[in-house]
């Protein structure tokens, strides 16, 4: 690629007291791609995302987002990013619609109401739009959270473990949203604990371990690191996830009516694969 990377990280270090969380992290994220940062709990993923989204200052190294240095000009960086943190950052007291209007107004956009209605429709939340966010299910909260992050169409979106705590259907919905974003040219940097999530979505995967990137490449490249494939005969059992999705239907229409009537508005989706 000749185009400038959307995110460039060079030698980023960060310690908290005596604990070295990031010990020199380097990677680039190509514009318009989905980049997965894979790592176990405590690997430093969240710290890195907080540095890139200007919430935290690095001890050393440089990071540029959309061509702007995060340390030198955080205000400028904030204009081109959006952060969806590990815990849905919605205002529980406000309704879903009010949450969206709030963010649209804070992004100084005109027609905040129209933007909110459009996003409620896109995220199948129209009927729940006038209910307090505190009444939403985990999946609905996450959808609202991501919808809030899309307001103003920031070119780069950081998603920190966006599917943690979600049921399989909600997880598939979030995956589809991310794919759509990348199709529209948005750069997505996502952190995840789940190997399958990275495998499903990411154009490039970097493995963060003990504060450094130990491997960075496409899925095909990463697979080459492993010993050559051997042919084995293994009985293919359905995974519990396959069973669960077959029973409740992948659209989520069948099983969620009891405590969550609004989820029944989720339109039928194409299957993931």
């Amino acid at each position: 690629m000749t185009a400038q990377p959307a995110v460039q990280v060079k030698g980023i270090r960060k310690s908290f007291k005596d604990v070295d969380v990031l010990c020199g992290v380097d990677f680039d994220v190509e514009a318009g791609s989905i980049f997965a940062l894979l790592g176990s709990n405590g690997a430093g993923k969240t710290t890195l995302v907080r540095i890139l989204s200007t919430l935290l200052k690095a001890d050393a190294g440089t990071a540029t987002v959309h061509g702007v240095d995060v340390a030198a000009n955080p205000g400028k960086v904030r204009e081109s990013i959006s952060l969806t943190g590990q815990f849905a950052a919605v205002d529980d007291v406000l309704t879903g619609r009010e949450n969206l209007v709030l963010v649209a107004k804070l992004r100084h956009l005109k027609n905040a109401g129209a933007i909110a209605d459009d996003l409620l429709a896109r995220f199948s939340l129209t009927d729940a739009g006038d209910r307090k966010a505190s009444t939403y299910s985990g999946g609905m909260r996450r959808r609202l959270d991501i919808a809030m992050s899309l307001i103003g169409n920031p070119p780069i979106i950081f998603l920190d473990e966006p599917t943690t705590g979600l049921d399989p259907q909600a997880r598939i919905e979030v995956w589809q949203t991310m794919k759509k974003l990348a199709d529209q040219g948005t750069t997505v940097l996502l952190t995840t604990l789940h190997l399958d999530e990275a495998e499903q979505l990411a154009h490039r995967i970097a493995i963060l371990h003990k504060g450094t990137i130990i491997q960075n490449g496409t899925l095909a490249e990463l697979k080459q690191v492993l010993p050559a494939a051997r042919v084995e005969f293994v009985e293919k059992q359905s995974s519990l996830e396959d069973v669960f999705l077959a029973l409740v239907g992948e659209t989520g229409e069948a099983g969620t009516t009891a405590d969550d009537p609004a989820d029944s508005n989720v339109p039928a989706r194409n299957e993931m694969q």
């Binding site: 200007t54 904030r78 849905a88 007291v93 406000l94 009010e98 709030l102 804070l106 992004r107 307090k132």
Partner: protein, 254 residues
């Protein structure tokens, strides 16, 4: 960035005012204790208290009760700020291109609005209980000004508590000494009735001068030099609390 301070602050203030409208119990619980104290002191203990002034005891008591109302009201500011920090919405705001100070100012302006409502409710109860004043509109505005200054000063203290608390209880615990301070002042009994060291403390702490000033304003008496002592206390408390709050905020968002 800074060009948006006013706009962002008003949007965020609208948000937290909505929180109060959606849970009016925060106003009710704020006024319950002051109203209970008002009833207790006027109808139970007040008969035995000699204030040495010709006015009714409810007139004597009200200024101190208003300060207690505000001191308990600002605990909710610390609480709301703490919840924003916990919930992640604070980080969302911090990662957006908005004026950073507006996040705090929104909570402070909301605190002023909510406390003025609480104060109005308590004054309403006092009027029913026989509180009377011949104060002109200008004097009422002067009283409102003193109370707003007091609210701002203790709200910025609440901001420090809300930003640095580790637990919900910790966030509001700072207000207990503030609520207690009027008891060791001229708010309930004249300081001359207290033993030496206590009287010395009572006469030299901020509440006494503020209470005396508001009491004199309501009674349409000369406020004397007391008003300057009160204003000096309020302005310096406000300046110190504001400086510490901004420093705490700076450490939090760096």
């Amino acid at each position: 960035m800074t060009t948006h301070v006013l706009g962002d602050t008003s949007v965020l203030t609208g948000r937290s005012l909505r929180h109060i409208l959606r849970s009016p119990d925060t106003i009710i619980t704020t006024v319950v204790t002051p109203v209970a104290l008002l009833l207790l002191f006027v109808y139970v203990l007040g008969g035995a208290i000699h204030t040495g002034s010709s006015q009714s005891y409810v007139n004597y008591l009200l200024p101190g009760i208003l300060l207690i109302t505000i001191a308990s009201g600002v605990a909710y500011t610390a609480y709301r700020l703490f919840l924003d920090l916990q919930g992640g919405i604070f980080e969302r705001f911090q990662s957006m291109p908005i004026a950073r100070s507006s996040v705090l100012w929104a909570h402070v302006l909301t605190s002023v609005t909510a406390n003025l409502v609480s104060v109005a409710v308590v004054i309403g109860v006092a009027l029913i209980m026989g509180f009377r004043t011949g104060a002109s509109i200008a004097v009422w505005l002067a009283v409102a000004g003193m109370l707003i200054l007091f609210t701002l000063a203790v709200t910025w203290l609440a901001v420090i508590a809300g930003l640095s608390a580790k637990t919900v209880d910790g966030a509001s615990a700072f207000s207990y000494p503030l609520i207690f301070l009027p008891f060791i002042s001229s708010a309930f009994v004249p300081t001359s009735s207290m033993p030496g060291p206590v009287a010395w403390f009572a006469e030299n702490q901020p509440v006494t001068s503020i209470v005396n000033t508001i009491r004199a304003l309501f009674a349409q008496q000369a406020v004397g030099s007391e008003v300057w002592i009160a204003l000096a206390w309020l302005v310096s408390l406000l300046a110190v609390a504001y400086a510490f709050a901004i420093a705490t905020y700076g450490r939090k968002v760096s």
